[in-house]
């Protein structure tokens, strides 16, 4: 294969496809990083919320609700789910000393249940909603499906919107304060309960949104929640716990590492390489690429 061919057919598409995958990962990681960074809760059931979003989209889509409406509707429907989860599971253990561990454990339990419940309701088989934007475009000889182009664009919009809310409003500081010292925050007038459940629900809604958006590409099945979650966790860590920009940079970077490693070394070793990157990051820069959330 000559060099030009390699560039046009192999390297360039690899980078571009890596980008699309990166956006998908960032979408999933976004809610995770917010819950982790602001509430200090490791939500192990995030992947299952992502799955719930996808299944909701599937079920509502089957009832002839338009995809464009679903993009709004599903996250809105996820909000109460997030609130209830927070009230019933997170709140009771939130103010214990080992919050990290206990919340990690309850949400892990929830993940086990959610996966099984989805299977109970929707069956074990793989399903897929139709692609909302069919067709493909060719840019500089690289073929890219239109839906992926759309995904990259909407991904950017969502990230920007979320970053605005978290960084440009007082919300970030408020949530962090409430998470750290609920009594003191409450004594400054922060409506602590609402802040907790609101933040959690927001993260859950983002997971649901990711589910709606990614289902046409990645299909829907009960265990789909496990799919992105490892990578999303890695992204959250490498990006700096809770940092939105960190998650974006790390998401795009790691998927490139993955894409190029699968090309140059072998796809088999991509997982170890990506995890190795995470481990190396933790060892040399435990705080991650960027600082924590809540700093303006």
């Amino acid at each position: 294969m000559n060099a030009l061919d390699y560039l046009q057919f192999v390297l360039a598409p690899q980078v571009v496809n890596g980008l699309a995958l990166g956006v998908a990962v960032v979408l999933v990681a976004l809610g995770l990083t917010i819950i982790f960074g602001l509430l200090d809760v490791i939500n192990m059931s995030h992947g299952e919320f992502y799955a719930v979003g996808a299944y909701l989209a599937l079920a509502l889509g089957a009832a002839h609700i338009d995809f464009w409406l679903l993009i709004v509707l599903v996250p809105v429907l996820m909000l109460p789910l997030g609130m209830v989860t927070e009230r019933l599971l997170i709140r009771p253990v939130f103010n214990t000393k080992d919050r990290h561990v206990t919340t990690l454990l309850v949400t892990f339990g929830l993940a086990l249940i959610a996966e099984d419940v989805l299977k109970l309701i929707f069956g074990p088989n793989t399903q897929r909603p139709p692609t909302p934007i069919p067709g493909a475009s060719e840019i500089f000889g690289i073929i890219l499906p239109n839906y992926r182009l759309f995904l990259i664009a909407i991904g950017a919009v969502i990230v920007a919107g979320v970053a605005f809310v978290v960084y440009r409003t007082r919300l970030g500081a408020m949530v962090r304060a409430a998470a750290y010292d609920r009594n003191m925050a409450a004594s400054l007038g922060v409506p602590v309960s609402l802040v907790y459940s609101g933040t959690f629900a927001f993260g859950v809604a983002l997971a649901g949104l990711a589910g709606v958006l990614l289902a046409p590409i990645y299909s829907i099945f009960p265990t789909m929640g496990r799919d992105f979650i490892l990578l999303a966790f890695t992204v959250v860590i490498v990006g700096g716990m809770g940092s939105i920009w960190g998650a974006v940079v790390a998401g795009l970077l790691l998927t490139q590492v993955q894409a190029l490693a699968s090309l140059v070394i072998s796809p088999v070793w991509t997982d170890p390489i990506v995890f190795g990157t995470m481990v190396a990051f933790l060892v040399f820069r435990p705080q991650g690429l960027f600082g924590r959330l809540g700093h303006a």
Partner: protein, 235 residues
């Protein structure tokens, strides 16, 4: 008007506040004295809603505070400067201060900024350090921040727990000046202090607590009362 009657609170099974009655009128500063571990802090925490009273009433104006969530109590006009300052780590000085704005609902952003800038004028040290993480401040600076944070909310009732703890004499004077200023504005202050002498200079009335009960009350101006106070505290 603050009126506390028959207040009791517990930590688990230990009965800490044992039937306290206390009232304050606008513009009144009440000194709360007592040895370590008698329940002074617990009393303030109970009023602020951190500890739920097991019985008794707490009324501020016509609002009954007992049993409310701390944020509701705050919005009813109660501000707490806690004993160990409780500066939020991971938040800058300015963020710590802006959070104080949450105490009041419906204030415009520009009004909020004005209040903050006023506070900075009073505590120039905080302006200097505004972008530093709150917890990296020195002990004294943290105390200033803790007070400043509550002041931006302009509360009716201010609960101050050992504010002079760890402060240099110059700053101690400053702190008591703030208390005096609060009083002049018409706020009520419950001031817990070990620094009895300086505290008395700003208080109207005082109470002494022993094992969760009020064992002595008196007027700060009254020489006899003061004598009894010194005796009770073995100063």
């Amino acid at each position: 008007m603050l009126k506390i009657e028959g207040l009791n609170s517990h930590y688990g099974r230990s009965h800490i506040i044992q039937g306290i009655d206390l009232s304050a009128a606008p513009g009144e500063v009440i000194g709360i004295f007592g040895r370590n571990g008698v329940g002074k802090t617990t009393l303030l925490k109970t009023i602020a809603g951190w500890v739920k009273p097991s019985s008794g009433t707490i009324r501020l104006g016509d609002v009954s505070l007992a049993g409310l969530e701390p944020d509701r109590i705050t919005r009813s006009g109660v501000g707490l400067v806690p004993e160990d300052r409780r500066i939020f780590p991971g938040l800058t000085v300015e963020e710590n201060l802006t959070l104080g704005l949450m105490q009041v609902r419906g204030r415009s952003a520009s009004a909020g900024r004005a209040v903050i800038s006023e506070i900075y004028d009073r505590f120039p040290r905080l302006r200097e350090r505004r972008h530093q993480l709150g917890t990296t401040l020195s002990g004294g600076e943290q105390q200033m921040l803790a007070m400043a944070r509550v002041l931006v909310g302009e509360p009716q009732l201010v609960l101050v727990d050992e504010p002079s703890e760890g402060l240099a004499p110059m700053i101690v004077a400053e702190v008591f000046a703030i208390v005096r200023e609060l009083k002049e504005r018409g706020a009520m202050v419950l001031l817990v202090e070990q620094n009895v002498h300086e505290a008395l200079a700003v208080t109207d009335r005082f109470v002494v607590i022993e094992r969760g009960r009020i064992v002595l009350t008196g007027e700060a101006e009254d020489a006899k009362d003061r004598e009894r106070l010194m005796e009770a505290l073995a100063v």
